[in-house]
């Protein structure tokens, strides 16, 4: 059944109200009469004057003409009300269209045999909405203004409040998809900034009624729990899409086994967002060439959902590929050999740095504990120098030739740029401010998220004698005693250092497993400093930040989504570019000092978001205590009916003219 929407019902009703009664009155008062020429109407006029005074109305007689005229005016009134085929329409007022462009909005939807992304559907629906709100035609009572905000993890105003349909349409069409996670809070804040006018005399009070917020999304937001609607604020949630089927790669890791550093081992975690189990094969490609495929499809159990839908647990499965020999650096791509609605999470990338064996210099090698710990690590070699020899080496200004220098309770007069693991005596690094010693201290506070403390708990650490220092902000404290830091890191330019402010022999650390893990972590972090970020990758919405050799220049970034941009490098070689919008591989090329050929590094960006991978649109979103029910957005465009009605009216007009002519001719 055809559901009609009236764009300008008031205008149509007004016309009908104004025209129909006079028409009826005309028919009451007036009859079509045959003309007849008489010598003079003088006497007739005077005769009528008496009669008319008594009877102004005549009895309404059935007439085809009257019926046709009523029908014609009725149709014109209906046409002026501008009926359209679907939906409800509001006009006037201020509207903010919040366009979700997060990763889940790239889910593909099948609409009448055609495939469209949710973002495309949302854009179509938003454009239709703009036409509804502003394209009311000549008879629309008043046009509103509309603002467009595009958001994912961040929000940006695409066009401020305007009544220009062209500007709004162009702004909506220009919204590009991203692979970011979706957060509504930022979008609401941006919208509120434009919709709330604050009286300068009463800054605590808004003087303008907030606009109506219309959200075009599938409702998957990671920050809904923290959001509430303010008084007088209204949100219309226009749900986009219906697809549910999705299987995602939610993690991809590649490691070189400690005992076989030339090999690469790849781990992948898969998540099934469907309520039925699925089987999927996973392909592994190295540098774009397929190298392995799971011998059998991986069965992933169905996702589970509580009856009220509040709790959802995706079915998960892990894939471990056999180690592949790959001594060079390599880009690993894992991809699902199964088509589902969302393609962004069907592939994941990881970058494995080249197999690198470290050369370590241990200075002041009296401590056998440290030496044996270092030698137990898979490094190329561990050389030993005394303090004097190390000073002479520094004085010669020759390259040190080591990936890491470990200073064991020895403080040289100066340190060249390099990477240092320092125990005991304070190193000659800037802004450390040593002011004394601390005795008999327990480690109180630790930053457990630091890679240095991976599998290294310092809860049992007791230090009999430690250096007391007050480092500046250039230092980052990893572990603290009651009065002063115990472990801290320093990163400045090409100098990276980890300082343990006590002699390990003055503590119970050598007897704890955390010591060996700490040493291994420190060697790993310092030995591969500058490469770590590249290997770890960035999430969509984050910025690529990496450090290259100081003095490098002319950095250029290419990546998915036709990204081809230049990035600035500061004097220390810090490069920051972003945010990254799409998942995939980003190649950063730059010119190192003294080099003629451009060096490059690659950064992988993966979705890894269970919130975005769960693409089933929400029927309602809940902001605090307010539940906002979805209004489904369909792909069908609203068709104007009024031109047809007007055409019918024209036909009736012609029929009326024909009937009239026939009557007059008699």
């Amino acid at each position: 059944m055809l559901a009609l929407t009236w764009l300008t019902p008031f205008a149509g009703a007004l016309l009908a109200g104004i025209v129909l009664p006079p028409l009826l009155a005309l028919w009451f008062l007036k009859l079509r009469r045959k003309p007849r020429v008489v010598a003079s109407t003088l006497l007739w006029t005077r005769s009528l004057a008496d009669l008319r005074a008594n009877a102004p109305f005549q009895r309404l007689r059935p007439s085809v003409l009257l019926f046709l005229q009523l029908l014609l005016i009725g149709l014109i009134a209906v046409a002026i009300a501008q009926p359209e085929s679907t939906g409800a329409v509001d006009t006037g007022g201020r509207y903010v269209l919040l366009m979700d462009r997060s990763a889940s909005m790239q889910a593909k939807e099948q609409i009448d045999g055609a495939t469209k992304t949710r973002l495309d559907l949302a854009k179509d629906a938003a454009i239709d909405r703009v036409h509804e709100l502003l394209g009311g035609g000549f008879f629309a009572p008043r046009a509103g203004t509309v603002m467009v905000v595009a958001f994912a993890s961040r929000a940006e105003v695409r066009v401020p409040f305007t009544d220009s349909i062209t500007d709004l349409e162009n702004a909506i069409r220009a919204i590009a998809p991203t692979d970011e996670e979706s957060e509504l809070g930022d979008a609401l804040e941006v919208a509120r900034a434009f919709t709330t006018n604050v009286d300068p005399d009463r800054p605590d009070r808004a003087v303008a009624a907030p606009a109506i917020l219309e959200l075009y999304s599938d409702g998957r937001f990671s920050d809904l729990a923290q959001l509430t609607l303010r008084p007088l604020e209204s949100l219309v949630y226009r749900r986009v899409g219906e697809a549910k089927d999705n299987v995602a790669i939610v993690a991809l890791a590649a490691e070189r086994p400690a005992d076989r550093p030339d090999d690469v081992q790849v781990f992948a975690a898969l998540a099934n967002m469907n309520l039925e189990p699925v089987s999927v094969s996973v392909q592994l490609a190295l540098d774009g060439r397929a190298r392995a495929i799971t011998p059998e499809p991986i069965s992933i159990p169905a996702a589970t959902k509580s009856p009220d839908g509040a709790e959802f647990r995706a079915g998960t499965a892990q894939v471990i590929f056999r180690p592949i020999e790959q001594p060079r650096d390599v880009v690993i791509e894992a991809s699902l050999l199964r088509k589902d609605a969302l393609a962004s999470d069907d592939a994941a990338f990881a970058i494995v740095p080249p197999a690198k064996k470290l050369r370590i210099l241990l200075v002041h090698s009296e401590g056998f504990v440290l030496a044996s710990a270092l030698e137990s690590l898979p490094v190329e070699r561990v050389d030993r120098l005394s303090g004097e020899e190390f000073d002479a080496l520094i004085a010669s200004q020759a390259p040190l030739g080591y990936d890491l220098v470990v200073l064991n309770n020895y403080s040289p007069k100066s340190l060249p740029t390099g990477r240092y693991l320092v125990f005991g005596a304070a190193p000659p690094l800037p802004e450390l401010n040593v002011y004394g010693a601390q005795k008999d201290v327990w480690c109180r506070v630790t930053r457990d998220e630091s890679p240095l403390l991976r599998s290294a708990s310092l809860d049992e650490l007791f230090v009999a004698n430690a250096v007391a220092s007050r480092p500046s902000k250039a230092w980052e404290v990893v572990a603290e005693g009651p009065d002063a830091p115990l472990i801290m890191t320093f990163d400045s330019g090409d100098t990276h250092a980890v300082y343990v402010a006590y002699d390990i022999l003055e503590s119970n650390w050598p007897f704890q497993r955390s010591f060996l893990n700490f040493v291994a972590n420190a060697v790993d972090v310092l030995g591969h400093a500058g490469e770590a970020i590249t290997a770890q990758g960035v999430r969509p919405g984050e910025a690529i930040a990496l450090r290259v050799r100081a003095g490098s220049k002319d950095a250029r970034i290419t990546g998915p989504g036709d990204v081809d941009a230049s990035a600035k490098l500061d004097a220390d070689g810090n490069l920051v570019w972003g945010p990254v919008l799409r998942t995939g591989l980003y190649d950063i090329a730059f010119l190192e000092p003294g080099q003629e050929e451009r060096s490059s590094r690659r950064v992988a960006s993966n979705l890894y978001s269970s919130a975005e991978s769960r693409i089933e649109p929400l029927a309602e979103i809940r902001l605090g205590v307010d539940a906002v029910n979805a209004v489904a957005v369909t792909s069908e465009r609203r068709a104007s009916v009024w031109p047809w009605i007007l055409g019918l009216g024209l036909l009736i007009l012609m029929l009326e003219w024909w009937v009239y002519q026939r009557q007059v001719r008699v």
């Binding site: 007036k30 009859l31 079509r32 009469r33 045959k34 003309p35 007849r36 020429v37 008489v38 010598a39 003079s40 109407t41 003088l42 006497l43 007739w44 006029t45 005077r46 005769s47 009528l48 008496d50 009669l51 005549q58």
Partner: protein, 306 residues
């Protein structure tokens, strides 16, 4: 009441020989005695040389001695002159309404008027009167003046046949023109329907006060007299005034017809009374009445001809 095309094209259409022969016996009656211009067959106010004695008056030096009454001189020894009446011609002026309203009715009122005018004119010509005719409407006044003698009948007929009724009546202006023209005093017959929006009083006053022996011949079509006759009005109509083209929408009902007839009687009665007060003879003629009957019977009885 629809307009019809004229059926008058020749002299015979206006007046046939048989009617002429009958009209030869008639003469126009004037209730007053007017001075004529030429010697004629009608007694004049002037003293002249006819055989009919009029009066005596004392002799004055220079009088023609042929008219001295010597018998009285013998008896009274004083000189008296005998005076005789003069016989002169009569001026007959016929004014015809040539407005569009006359081109209505069945039979056509204007054709009827022209026949009537021709008949009256012929009577005038055959009695050696000076016959003048005016045809008036809001375009102006057409006239033919001072025709005398039966031989002028064809000239008069040709003039009448050329007339075309159109526009409004221009009655007042036409009467003013007639009053100021040198047509000579005499009998004036105004032929019209007198359905004048501006009223007939002013126009008639202009000629009634100028010494004319005035006749107002009101010619109405049968449909004007009785709208229910064939060709009249019936049902729901938009009546269009033939002169002003103004429209009046009517639904013909018995009540309306009654009202119309009352109005018509009132209008004609008003005209009659107005004429009676000013010694103007009002004659109401329905155009369905044959001209012969009208001339030989009706007008005779009403004293216009004898």
């Amino acid at each position: 009441m629809s307009s019809t095309k004229s059926a008058l094209h020749r002299l015979d259409d206006l007046i046939d020989g048989r009617l002429m022969a009958k009209l030869d016996q008639l003469d126009v009656v004037s209730r007053k005695i007017f001075s004529g211009k030429l010697h004629g067959e009608r007694r004049s106010k002037r003293r002249g040389q006819s055989v009919e004695f009029a009066d005596f008056r004392p002799y004055a030096a220079g009088d023609d001695l042929r008219f001295v009454d010597w018998n009285i001189y013998g008896r009274l020894d004083r000189l008296f002159l005998k005076m005789f009446l003069e016989e002169e011609d009569l001026s007959l002026v016929i004014a015809i309404d040539a407005s569009a309203s006359m081109r209505t009715g069945t039979p056509d009122s204007f054709d009827y008027c022209r026949k009537l005018a021709m008949a009256l004119g012929y009577v005038g010509l055959s009695n050696q009167h000076r016959v003048s005719m005016l045809a008036f409407n809001d375009q102006g006044v057409q006239r033919i003046s001072n025709l005398r003698g039966r031989r002028k009948s064809s000239e008069l007929a040709s003039w009448l046949l050329r007339l075309q009724p159109e526009g409004g009546s221009g009655f007042e202006a036409a009467m003013k023109t007639a009053a100021l023209s040198r047509l000579g005093r005499g009998v004036m017959i105004v032929v019209s329907d007198f359905m004048l929006r501006e009223g007939y009083e002013k126009g008639l006053n202009m000629v009634a006060g100028r010494g004319f022996d005035l006749f107002a011949l009101q010619v109405l079509s049968p449909q004007q007299v009785d709208p229910t006759r064939e060709g009249g009005v019936q049902g729901d109509l938009k009546l269009v005034d033939s002169e002003s083209l103004g429209e009046t929408e009517v639904t013909v009902t018995p009540a309306l017809l009654r009202s119309y007839k009352e109005r018509l009687d009132g209008w004609c009665g008003g005209l009659r009374q107005w004429c009676a007060r000013r010694a103007v003879t009002h004659l109401l003629v329905e155009s369905s009445l044959p001209v012969e009957t009208l001339m030989l019977d009706y007008l005779r009885r009403r004293g216009l001809v004898r």
